[in-house]
């Protein structure tokens, strides 16, 4: 698995405030009499990649749209780049990137033309630290659309179109980027290239990224920190490693002996292996130990939340991950 830092494990003193890009406390959203969000807390620091996971209808899109300033919240303290998104002005808007799912918009425009056009709006917001917009040729190269620069948008394939969406989202060199289901419809190669791009944005440009996805593998590869939103609350939070380690304790152990395959599930894999080797020594072949995956953790947590019981337990370990 990818090596990840553990920004949540803060024995280090708090970094200065301007490093906090997203600050959400007790965010609530109610439509009519239905509560969609019941007090979401979330913090992101500069350069962090955060994945928001959760079942459909959990409130991911609502949360993101509130942070994007596209939707008013019912209650809660929300700061995005230090600004209340309900009152964000155009200068604030220029520091955000939103990757939208394109459908039929700008179909007659040529790829290069559209990027140059949208980029022009960001030029007045260029700073010494962040020159805006991203030069079009460089951007085309970055998202792998150079060969299609002269094509009309409606002639692009689904994957190329999605890359264009990403390019539009980052043309203003955002300090904070929202990615809602970014790789839906990507083939494996395009997905890998996209992951490299996300790493590049976070590492080289210090872009903070908040992404939603249903692909747990993707969340694990990209995110420094994962938040699981279910039933309108963050029910778990931590590094991908943290989450999988904490939830389900059992590891799966597979080996062969005398040509026969064995599978065993054990809470203490080390002890089990010691015993296994003591008994059979070199007879143990093709050994594999698989710790509980993020997927196992996710399923367990969401199930726990949905079945309503043990809500207390989830809360406890959310605190654990923040301690």
């Amino acid at each position: 698995m990818t090596a990840v830092e553990l920004p949540g494990v803060a024995s280090t003193p708090h970094p200065p405030d301007e490093d906090v890009v997203l600050h959400v406390r007790d965010l609530r959203m109610r439509y009519g009499t239905v509560d969609v969000l019941h007090g979401v807390d979330l913090t992101a620091r500069r350069g962090e990649v955060i994945a928001l996971l959760g079942p459909n209808g959990a409130g991911k899109t609502t949360t993101i749209e509130i942070l994007e300033g596209f939707r008013m919240r019912s209650a809660g303290d929300v700061r995005v780049l230090g600004v209340d998104p309900g009152r964000g002005d155009e200068r604030w808007r220029a520091r955000l990137g939103v990757v939208l799912q394109s459908w039929r918009d700008h179909g007659k425009w040529r790829v290069r033309e559209l990027l140059a056009h949208l980029g022009a709006f960001y030029a007045p917001y260029s700073t010494d630290r962040i020159p805006r917009p991203w030069p079009v040729d460089e951007l085309l190269d970055t998202v792998g659309l150079t060969a299609h620069a002269g094509k009309r948008v409606n002639q692009l394939s689904g994957g190329q179109r999605r890359r264009l969406d990403v390019a539009v989202g980052i043309v203003g060199r955002p300090e904070l980027l929202f990615l809602d289901e970014p790789t839906v419809g990507f083939d494996p190669a395009a997905r890998r290239e996209f992951h490299e791009l996300v790493h590049r944005l976070a590492d080289l440009d210090d872009t903070t990224i908040l992404l939603t996805t249903h692909d747990l593998d993707e969340a694990e590869k990209l995110a420094d920190r994962i938040l699981i939103l279910a039933g309108g609350r963050i029910i778990a939070e931590g590094t991908p490693d943290d989450l999988s380690r904490r939830v389900a304790g059992n590891a799966e152990i597979r080996w062969t002996r005398d040509g026969e395959r064995f599978v065993h599930s054990a809470a203490d894999a080390t002890a089990f292996l010691r015993e296994l080797f003591r008994q059979y020594g070199d007879g143990v072949q093709e050994l594999e130990v698989r710790r509980a995956s993020l997927e196992d953790a996710y399923i367990a947590l969401v199930h726990e939340q949905e079945s309503g019981g043990r809500a207390g337990a989830a809360a406890v370990w959310k605190q654990g991950s923040e301690a």
Partner: protein, 284 residues
Amino acid sequence: MNPTRAAVRAGVQRGLTELRNSFTNAQDLWGYVFPTLILLVTIFFMRGATVPGTGFSLGTRTLPSILGMGLAFGGLITLAQQLVVEREDGTLLRAKATPNGMLGYLVGKLTSISTVALVSMVIQLVPALFLVDGLRLTEASAWFTLLWVVVIGLVATLPIGAVIGSLIENPRNLGLVMLPMMGLIALSGIFYPINGYPGWVQAVAQVFPIYWLGLGMRSALLPDNLAAVELGGSWRHLETLGVLGAWAVLGLVLAPVVLRRMARRESGSRVAARRERAMQQAIM
């Protein structure tokens, strides 16, 4: 550079790009040529007829009236249509996600739609000149009147078009606006003088901009003695300015409020919901 100025400049550029895209697109080109063909056919069949009470060709009277109608139609319907469609397809949401993008979007629309209105006018006027005579095209005063009628016509109709476009959520409901529009055109003396109609019909027609734009264009292009067969026996320039000016004020007051409200409600999930709905409708 000042952000507002940058957005206005990008908006004008946007309008020009949209124009170029539409002029290199068969479907849009057909949209420009088709009304001209209808116009020419109409005028051709009117060739023997005269304006009642005069010996003046009815076809010649119809030409400027249709130009006025086209102006009203372009201002009211084209902008409304594009707003509804581009809200559905996500263009507006993209504009909203861009700093000053809504300003750029609107400037772009005003640029492209005004230009299309002017270009359409030329496309209709030039070939029609071979079919009709009696227009006063060589007089400077004719062109001056034409100019102010076009300008006030666009200012009166575009903001109202923006309001209509903001209020309609589903592209299918555009028909709700098209039908009354067609009815108004029939009442507004575009193809035939309305002097013989009942008084209340004349009154209704004179509330809306279409009648006045037709009248204004006739006043620009027809000989002065034809004013005698208009309502009130005159070109009524002051009244034209008054009614169109009132619509302009109404539109300019309402449009920013309604547009802002519409823009505020746009979000990714709304666009996604509309996409769902459109897909379902396409399947059914």
